[in-house]
């Protein structure tokens, strides 16, 4: 009996172990070998385009009226935001729409692969290594794609874009050469990714508590000095504003990500007329750390910090932490700078909605534009009309079907449906024809604002006509006064300078250092804002020196050389 038991036990353990191990281990040695073959073909540089063209022609004959003769199957990455009470990102009203549309129009079966939003890069890494990456991948990080491309893990999209231009009318109409060729190599045209279009380029603006201004009889600040006086007034009158919670007041809140969360202030210190070259050379970091003028902006923040006008603990809470949002929701924060629509994001759980519930009907944030630049304007640097990057991993054996997917998802009608859903379910049509978004339930819940996760070639409201888009923009936030939204939109579009695409080729020094440098950047900002009085210069200079010697200087030098090699003047525009 004992023997039998031992035997059974041993086998059970063995099998359970085998069962645990096999799915993760078994494909590993097998999969890369399978992939190695096509990868070599693709990687052989001179043969590459001819090869792809050959493939393309072969596939072309199978396309009749944009439809494959035999049903094809592709997989598409979709962010899983894991929202409380959200819908299944791989199976809901919108995925059904896409699946049916693709099947009808192109005879392509679409399967969605959920990837956690906040660990997307790690997850795609794993998928790529295991040979299970979705055919269409999306990420915000071009350096990641570049790193994959250097490992021969990405398909060159250029031949498909050019060869099938006629089959991809919507894609070409919507993105055009600007976005499709944005990442193309200036020498051989190699294109590892195409850039989604930022339909609404609004970036960071500043918000202030309207009811606090009213309570203290203050005007909206129009200059840095007035803004500072306002913060001081908030602090001195904390008892009036917050009563028992007076010690919790935060006149101006900035998170650990100072470069983003004080962007308007920082940009007001930069020269609005700086040359394209200067902007590009110092522009590896989108938080403007190495631009000329940033130091003075942070010095001002440091003064405010030492006057007790800012959040003491800002550097201790990392990305994704909700502590600061909670303070805003509870009504402790007087002013902050953030994405132009930040207080209204999240429907019922938005900052605005919570503020109304917890503090009172008239408690709300309004947009202001208080940071004047040296010309008296309100300089705001925008990034350029680009957003997420779409790429095909080398394991994609249906590049044409995948391209047709991108075409389908760029169809204005598809975009409109994904963004506003069905009438009566996710939106109402107002008297003037404008679309008003209403809170949806069940299958129709949008896990991301305006379904940005599905419209992978488009970020921002984009309806069939511009007129409709503009009319509706103010109504896209359920329960928010449209006037407030229009005002924020107007401020976000004041005195902007749109980023241009500098096609100076790859900068080798940028490879693999992105994350190291962005965490260094945050450290420099945080330490400098928190520096004791009189120590600011030392702290800032030491931090910048560290940043530059960790690779920042190499990038600046290489960018300077690359610019000089391609352009003859300091400006492109």
């Amino acid at each position: 009996m004992k023997k039998l038991l031992a035997l059974v036990l041993a086998f059970v353990m063995l099998f359970s172990l085998a069962a645990c191990v096999s799915p993760s281990v078994a494909p590993e040695p097998a999969a890369p070998e399978e992939q190695a073959e096509p990868e070599k073909e693709e990687a052989a540089e001179p043969a590459e385009e001819a090869e792809a063209e050959g493939e393309a022609e072969a596939a072309d004959s199978e396309l009749a009226d944009g439809k494959f003769a035999e049903t094809r199957h592709i997989t598409v990455e979709i962010y899983d935001r894991n929202n409380d009470g959200g819908s299944d990102p791989t199976n809901n009203m919108y995925t059904e729409y896409i699946k049916n549309g693709m099947l009808e129009k192109h005879n392509v079966e679409v399967e969605f692969v959920a990837v956690p939003r906040w660990t997307e890069v790690d997850d795609i890494n794993t998928h790529l290594a295991a040979g299970t990456a979705p055919d269409i991948c999306v990420t915000y990080s071009y350096p990641t794609i570049k790193a994959y491309a250097d490992m021969d893990a990405v398909i060159n999209l250029r031949p498909f874009l050019d060869e099938y231009k006629a089959e991809l009318p919507n894609l070409w109409n919507w993105l055009g050469e600007t976005n499709l060729y944005w990442d193309s190599d200036p020498n051989d045209g190699t294109t590892w990714a195409i850039e989604a279009k930022l339909a609404n380029m609004n970036r960071v603006i500043t918000f202030v508590r309207k009811d606090w201004l009213d309570a203290l009889g203050l005007e909206e600040p129009a200059t840095k000095e007035q803004f500072h006086d306002m913060l001081v007034a908030f602090k001195e009158n904390a008892d009036t504003l917050l009563g028992d919670d007076a010690d919790k007041i935060v006149p101006y809140s900035v998170s650990f990500d100072v470069g983003w969360r004080a962007a308007t202030l920082i940009e007001s210190f930069l020269d609005p007329d700086m040359s394209d070259k200067e902007y590009y050379v110092n522009g590896f970091d989108d938080r403007k750390l190495t631009q000329n003028g940033t130091k003075e902006a942070v010095r001002l923040l440091n003064e405010w910090y030492n006057e007790g006008l800012m959040w003491d603990d800002f550097a201790l809470y990392g990305s994704g932490d909700t502590t600061e949002d909670d303070m805003m929701k509870a009504g402790y924060v007087g002013a902050f700078s953030h994405n132009w629509d930040y207080p209204w994001r999240g429907g019922d759980d938005s900052i605005a909605a919570n503020l109304k519930r917890l503090v009172g009907e008239d408690a709300k944030y309004i947009a202001i534009d208080p940071f004047e630049d040296k010309n008296g304007g309100h300089n705001k640097f925008l990034a350029g009309p680009i957003d997420r990057k779409v790429f095909f991993p080398i394991t994609n054996d249906e590049p044409l079907a995948s391209m047709l997917y991108l075409d389908f998802i760029s169809d204005p009608e598809t975009i409109q449906f994904l963004q506003i859903g069905e009438e009566g379910v996710t939106h109402n049509v107002l008297d003037d024809g404008a679309i008003e978004i209403i809170a949806a339930t069940g299958d129709a819940i949008q896990n991301s604002g305006m379904n940005i996760d599905y419209t992978i070639t488009c970020n921002g409201l984009h309806l069939l006509t511009d007129e409709l888009t503009n009319k509706s923009l103010a109504h896209t936030y359920a329960g928010i006064d449209p006037e407030d939204v229009l005002r924020a939109n107007e401020i976000a579009k004041t005195d902007t300078r749109v980023g241009i695409n500098v096609q100076a080729g790859d900068i080798e020094a940028e490879g693999g250092v992105g994350d190291t440098l962005s965490s260094k950047r945050d450290q420099v900002y945080d330490l400098a804002v928190k520096a004791a009085e009189g120590e600011f210069d030392a702290v800032w200079d030491e931090g910048i020196a560290d940043y530059l010697s960790s690779g920042g200087q190499d990038i600046i030098d290489e960018r300077t050389a690359a610019w000089d090699a391609v352009y003859s003047s300091e400006n492109i525009r």
Binding site: A6, A10, L128, Y148, A315
Partner: protein, 325 residues
Amino acid sequence: MDRGGKRVYQMARTRKNAVPGKKTGSAYFRRYYQLYLLLLVPLLYLLIFKYIPMWYIMIAFKKYSIVSPVIDMKWAKNHGFEYFIKAFRSKDFIVALKNTITLNLLDLVCGFPVPIIFALVLNEIRMKRFKKAVQTITYMPHFLSWVVIYGLALQLFAPSTGYVNLLLSRMGWKTIDFLGTSRNWVRTYIGLGIWQSFGWNSIIYLAAIAGISPELYEAASVDGAGRFQKMWHITLPGIRSTIIVLLIMALGNIIGSGFDRPFALQNNLVMDRAEVIATYVYKAGIKGSQFSLTAAVGLFQSVVNVIFLLGANWLSRRFGERGIW
């Protein structure tokens, strides 16, 4: 079982001496194959998860490609040592190495004696119920993840909202920035580490103490030894070999470190002290896709750890202790 095994083994030996041949070995095996079958499972585990992955150490010497098998990847420059050279030229790696050693040494110096002292003290407590309660309470933090502990630390120590600082400021004292300056952060880091682990680590010492023969204590009492004398002359020597073994293992980990503790506790203000090799590898390697570089760093770390382990073991044997092997 044990005794039976011994007997059979002896039988097998004697028989083997008498008639050398295969038969005896197979008889032994036929009788005990189930035990070997059971052993197969952990052996397989070791093979699959500990030995097969060693093949991938090659990544440290090759130019990593995410899609091709290791064997097909190209060799790195400088006879494969490109990434080692790169690591040692990198300022960040040197800082991380320095921090790892500093934090681990501090952990060792401050943290190692605590569970021993605690076990000694606990051993002297006669009230069983109290003893049990204390033990349970001190074990508890061991089961908390570091992310949770950082959450607790923020609740307690954050400059403006932490309870400790609220208390300090209400009593009219100056608040202390426990997490925001490098010096204080190191103290908090070490303190939290000790708090989290001393209860748990004391278990092994308590077990060793339980193994000391009570007759020794009785004899000492008869000779008129007091409590402290008994502690010093009986308990401590009784657990000396346990202490040595644990010390060797701790030394073997002097430039290794867990990932979650430093990663959960670090913040932007203290990175000059808080970046350790594990977190550096994660940031530069996993997030920056520099897999070869970080494989090289990891390999270096392991080799140094083994050297320390062997060194500590050799030292302890020189001083007349048993060592680990």
